[in-house]
Symmetry: C2
Subunit: 420 residues, 2 copies
C-alpha cells in the first residue's frame, strides 16, 4: 500500500465528462489499495474568466479580494470531483484550503505555503476516504483566503504530498512527460523516464514548461518524488513506468541507469539582450547597473561581462524578459549618470539555447562540443553563460530551431524509432 | 446615523457594469453616514450553471458537496463588489459565510440560519468599513459549507439585519415594490407603500413572488423592517419612500394610515386539485389521507371537507403542486385500502385566487363580496378556504385573469392614474 497524491490540471477538469475520466483514474488507484489525495485545478478558462472580472472591476484591485474571487474556480471542481467519485461508489470528500487548513503567507495573489494541518486529513485517508483538495488556494494567519499565483496548483500538490509524506506525487497534465527537447521542433525528441530536480528546474525555467518552477523547487527541498504524466493516455495500459519521474540525483545513481551526458536541450525566445557600451571599469560599477533594475523588479537572466581590454572600460551584456525591455531602457536612462556608460544597445531578435544535464558535472568538453556543433552550421554565438549543469548561449532568433536540432543530434539524444 | 443592510439579487449583480451601479448605491448610503452591510447574490444564471454541473455529475449528488459548488457564485460577486467599492474610494471587505461565521443547521442545500457572530463585523462597520457578505451560504457546526436553498440570499439579508440590529433591510430587486396584484394582468395595479409581514406572507406564498417566503417569516419573527425596491430605478430620485416597506401591523396603525380593507389579490396556477370520492366518515379518516402524503414530503395546500350528507361518507378535496400530482396519485392508490375511498378525481386546469388584507379581520362581508363579484361574471367557485386575513377560491384556470381584474376593481384597488 502506498500513499499517493494525484494532481489534475485545468484541461483535465474541463467539464463533467473529463472529470469522470479523472475520477476513473483516481478510483483505480484507490482500489489498488492506495491512500489517495487529489489536488485539482479550476476548469480550463475559468481562472482567466475570474481574473478578467477583477481587472474589469478595477485595474488596481485589492489582492485580498482578488483571491476571494479567483479561489472559487478550484472550489467548484473539488466539489464536483467528490460528487463524481461518490457516484462511482468511492468514499470521497472535498477539503477546501481554509478547511484543512493550508496555511500560507499573506502575500496575496502569490502566497507561499507554510504548514498544512494533516491530522484530520490523514485520519480520513486511512479510513479509505479519498481527499479532494482544491489547488491554488490557502489561508492566512488572519483567516483570509489566499492564492499561490498562476500554476500554483502544482505547488499545492507537492506541498500536500510533502505534508502527508506521500510515496509519490503524480501530476497529470496534457503532455505525457518531460522530453529531451520540444517535440514540435525535433520530432525525434525522446521522453525522459527520469530527470533530476536540478535538471527539471533548468529545463522548466528555460522553456520546457511542464511544471510550475516553484513546485519543482519545493519537491527538491522536501524530497517529494514527482511523476509527470498525461491524463489523456489510456490509464489501463499503465505499467507504473509511464510519464517522467522527477527525483533526486542519488536515486538516479542508485537505479544504476546508464547516465546520459546531456538530459535535454531547451530554448527560450522570450528574452531581449541589452548591452551597455563602455561602462567605466571600477569597483561597484556592476552594482550601479543591477541595483536600479532589481529595485524596479525587473528579472535579469544572463549576465556577461568581460575584463576591460583597455583597462578603462568594458561592455556589460544581459538579458531581460522581452515584455520588460521598455521599462529596462527607461531605468537605465535614468541611471545613466551614476552608471557612466557611453550608450545602450538592445536586441529582441535573439534566442537562448541551453544544454542541460547533471552528467556534465563530471565530464569536460560539453561546452566545447556545443560551440563546435553550432559553428559547423555557421551559427554565431553572441554570449555564453554556464552553470554546473547547464551551458546557455544567445544566438540570432532565426537559427533557434536549427540550433536545437543540431545539438539534439550532437549529444546523441535522437530517438531511434519513428518520430513521436 | 442608521445601520442598514442592503441586499442585491442576481440581476443587479450580473456583470461588472451592474456591480458598479450597485456600488454607487451602496456608496451613497455610506456617505450619508450610515453603517452599511451589503448582502449579494451570485450573478444571474450562475447558480443555475453550478446546479447543472452537480446534476450532470450525479443525479444523486451529495448535498454537502453540492453546497461547496453552488456557494462559489456568491463568493465571486462579494469579492468583486468589494473591489469596485474600493475603487470608488470606499473602505470595504468581503466576509464569507465561514469567515463571520454564519452558523446554520446541517440540512445541506436547505439549511436554516442559527446564529451569526457579529463582534468583528460590527467593529469593522463602526470603523466605516462596508461589509460585503455573500448571501445563500453558511457553515455547519462541523465546519462544512451550507447553502440555504434557492432564493436564500433574501433570508441571509434579513438574518444579518436581525443580527446587527439594523434599522432597515433594503432588498433591491428587479421590481420596484409589492403591488396590489400582478401588473401584467391588471395594468392599473397600485404599488403598496406599506404592507404587513402577514399580508406579505400570504401574497408571496400565493403567487406574488417578490421575496423568498422564509425571509418574510424571519423578518416577522425578528421584527426586521424590510423594504423592497428596484435596483434599476434612478437612486438620485430616492426620497426615502420608494419601494414597499414591510413592517408590523402596529407600525402601520401607528402611521395612522387610512387602512384599505384588502391589500392585494394573488393568483396561483401551479396547483392541481384532487378529490377523494366517498371517504368513510369515521374518526381518523383524514389522517389516513394526509399521513402518507406528508411521509412522501408532498406539500398539501387547500383542504376542503364537508360534513357527510348521508352520515356515512364524504368527499375530501385538496390541492397539491402540479409537479407533485403524479406522485400524489401514486401515494393515494397505494393507501386506498386504508383510506377506503371509492375513487379519485383530479384536475390540473384550475387556479387559486386569493384576496389578502389584515383589514378583513375587523370587517364582515369580505368573502361575500368576493363570491358576488365572481358570480356576477359567471365564474364558478369550486372550493373555498379562509384564514384570518385571506379568502381563497379555486376556479377554472381559463378565468384567472378575468377574476383577478374583477376583484381588483370590486375592492377599490385600481389606481386612478394611467396604467403603470
Amino acid at each position: 500500500m502506498s500513499r499517493i497524491v494525484m494532481k489534475f490540471g485545468g484541461t483535465s477538469m474541463a467539464g463533467i465528462e473529463r472529470i469522470r475520466n479523472v475520477a476513473e483514474r483516481v478510483k483505480r488507484e484507490a482500489e489498488a489499495g492506495n491512500e489517495v489525495a487529489v489536488v485539482v485545478s479550476a476548469m480550463a478558462g475559468e481562472t482567466d474568466r475570474l481574473v478578467q472580472f477583477c481587472r474589469e472591476a478595477s485595474s488596481l484591485y485589492d489582492p485580498r479580494e482578488y483571491d476571494v474571487v479567483v479561489a472559487s474556480g478550484e472550489q467548484v471542481t473539488s466539489g464536483l470531483l467528490a460528487i463524481v467519485l461518490q457516484s462511482m461508489g468511492c468514499k470521497a470528500r472535498s477539503w477546501l484550503g481554509w478547511q484543512l487548513p493550508i496555511r500560507t503567507s499573506d502575500a496575496h495573489a502569490s502566497a507561499r505555503i507554510g504548514t498544512i494541518d494533516t491530522g484530520t486529513l490523514l485520519g480520513a485517508m486511512a479510513a479509505g476516504e479519498i481527499a479532494v483538495i482544491p489547488g491554488f488556494q490557502g489561508l492566512t494567519e488572519e483567516g483570509r483566503v489566499t492564492t499561490l499565483g498562476r500554476g500554483g496548483s502544482d505547488t499545492s500538490a507537492v506541498a500536500v504530498a510533502a505534508a502527508v509524506k506521500a510515496d509519490r506525487c503524480d501530476i497529470y497534465t496534457d503532455v505525457d512527460g518531460v522530453y529531451t527537447t520540444d517535440p514540435r521542433i525535433v520530432p525525434r525528441a525522446r521522453k525522459l523516464s527520469r530527470v533530476t530536480y536540478e535538471e527539471m528546474l533548468e529545463l522548466a525555467s528555460v522553456g520546457a514548461k511542464v511544471l510550475q518552477t516553484r513546485s519543482v523547487g519545493l519537491a527538491m527541498k522536501e524530497r517529494v518524488r514527482v511523476r509527470v504524466l498525461s491524463s489523456f493516455e489510456d490509464a489501463r495500459n499503465d505499467d507504473g513506468h509511464r510519464g517522467t519521474l522527477i527525483v533526486g540525483d542519488d536515486e538516479i545513481e542508485e537505479a544504476g541507469m546508464e547516465r546520459q551526458l546531456i538530459t535535454g536541450i531547451a530554448h527560450d525566445k522570450n528574452e531581449a539582450k541589452v548591452t551597455l557600451v563602455a561602462v567605466p571599469d571600477r569597483p561597484g560599477a556592476v552594482a550601479t547597473i543591477f541595483g536600479p533594475l532589481a529595485d524596479a523588479s525587473i528579472n535579469v537572466d544572463m549576465i556577461v561581462q568581460n575584463v576591460a581590454s583597455d583597462g578603462k572600460s568594458t561592455d556589460v551584456t544581459f538579458t531581460v524578459p522581452r515584455a520588460e525591455l521598455a521599462r529596462t531602457l527607461d531605468v537605465l536612462e535614468k541611471a545613466q549618470s551614476t552608471i557612466g556608460h557611453l550608450s545602450v544597445r538592445h536586441d529582441t531578435k535573439i534566442a537562448k539555447i541551453s544544454v542541460v544535464g547533471v552528467g556534465m558535472r563530471s565530464h569536460a568538453g560539453v561546452a566545447a562540443q556545443m560551440f563546435k556543433a553550432l559553428a559547423d552550421r555557421g551559427i554565431n554565438i553572441q554570449a555564453i553563460t554556464t552553470s554546473e549543469i547547464k551551458v546557455s548561449v544567445l544566438i540570432d532568433e532565426d537559427f533557434t530551431e536549427l540550433a536545437v536540432r543540431v545539438l539534439h543530434t550532437a549529444y546523441g539524444l535522437d530517438s531511434e524509432g519513428e518520430a513521436a
